[in-house]
């Protein structure tokens, strides 16, 4: 009972923080919080009852992968815009960070579609194919870099899942003020958490269990959690831009509502 009560308080926090700091309707925020879990459940059910329909959505080069590309492209474009706005306000470190963020996600978007290789039907040069885990013209699947890239994405997902709750718990800590634009809303933490759980499953657990749990091949679900991560990142920068554009003072001060509610 205590656990259920605690959970309901946390969900209440999600809605309250969304309304206070992000100007997002509380009920909508709570729905968005649960969406990644509902989506995962629906996909598993679809996989169980009709695998061809599932594969249409989740296979490589299909809907979920292109959704990721869209989200990374959004993250890149809006990241540049946020960086520019912050620089105009004289917030140099944060501005430069978001410019670098935009550049990084432009790279990730290009990597996600292997720089148009499959659109143009290009064959992978032999020397790249020899070093690329998936025989593609991209960098993140090159042996050696792949592990680094995966580690980076796992850490990013873990950060997105935990940082907002830590910030919420330490809302009185003035050292966090300057970092507010880097902290996603609470209602996106579920997306980051699903992404982290999936990536952890794929990179740590899958090799130990020969890539499958029972009859289920873990890799078949990888596009979903990658899409969750991409969507959460895109949503965060879109919301950050909106908050800045609302002109409610500095991006630092305007989020002082984080943690205004009961803990």
């Amino acid at each position: 009972m205590a656990l259920a009560h605690r959970a309901s308080l946390l969900v209440g926090d999600v809605g309250e923080e969304a309304m206070g700091a992000w100007q997002v309707d509380g009920r909508r925020a709570r729905r968005l919080f649960f969406l990644p879990f509902i989506g995962a459940f629906c996909l598993v059910v679809l996989w169980a009852i009709h695998q061809p329909a599932y594969m249409l959505i989740a296979r490589e080069d299909s809907i979920l992968e292109w959704l990721q590309f869209s989200c990374f492209l959004i993250a890149s474009i809006v990241g540049f815009q946020v960086g520019r706005r912050l620089l105009k306000r004289g917030e140099l470190p944060l501005g430069l960070f978001f410019l670098a963020f935009g550049l990084a996600f432009l790279f990730v978007a290009g990597e996600e579609i292997t720089w148009g290789q499959r659109i143009l039907g290009l064959e992978t040069p032999a020397d790249i194919a020899a070093r690329n885990v998936q025989d593609e013209i991209n960098i993140h699947n090159l042996s050696g870099i792949r592990a680094l890239f995966q580690a980076g994405m796992i850490l990013l997902a873990l950060y997105g899942a935990i940082a907002p709750w830590v910030a919420r718990a330490r809302s009185d800590d003035p050292r966090l003020d300057s970092l507010r634009p880097l902290i996603p809303p609470l209602f996106l933490t579920a997306s980051f958490l699903v992404a982290f759980a999936g990536m952890f499953l794929y990179t740590v657990i899958a090799p130990l269990v020969d890539q499958s749990i029972g009859d289920i091949t873990i890799l078949k679900f990888s596009e979903y959690w990658e899409a969750c991560l991409a969507a959460a990142i895109a949503a965060h920068v879109l919301l950050t831009r909106r908050v800045i554009d609302m002109g409610r003072g500095s991006t630092v001060n305007q989020r002082s509502g984080l943690g205004a509610g009961p803990q």
């Binding site: 292109w66 869209s70 499959r118 039907g121 064959e123 895109a234 909106r242």
Partner: protein, 52 residues
Amino acid sequence: VFGAVARWIGRPARSKERDQLLQGSDVDINIVQLMLFIIAVFAAVFIVVRFR
């Protein structure tokens, strides 16, 4: 509309320049992937512009 665009993109080569451009290259445009790419870019731009 997509069918018309796909036919336009996949139309046979009509010019010498185009023949020369593609001659010897291993470019083989995947229409479905190209359509998905265009949709994805439009969706991204739409959201960037509209979400304020």
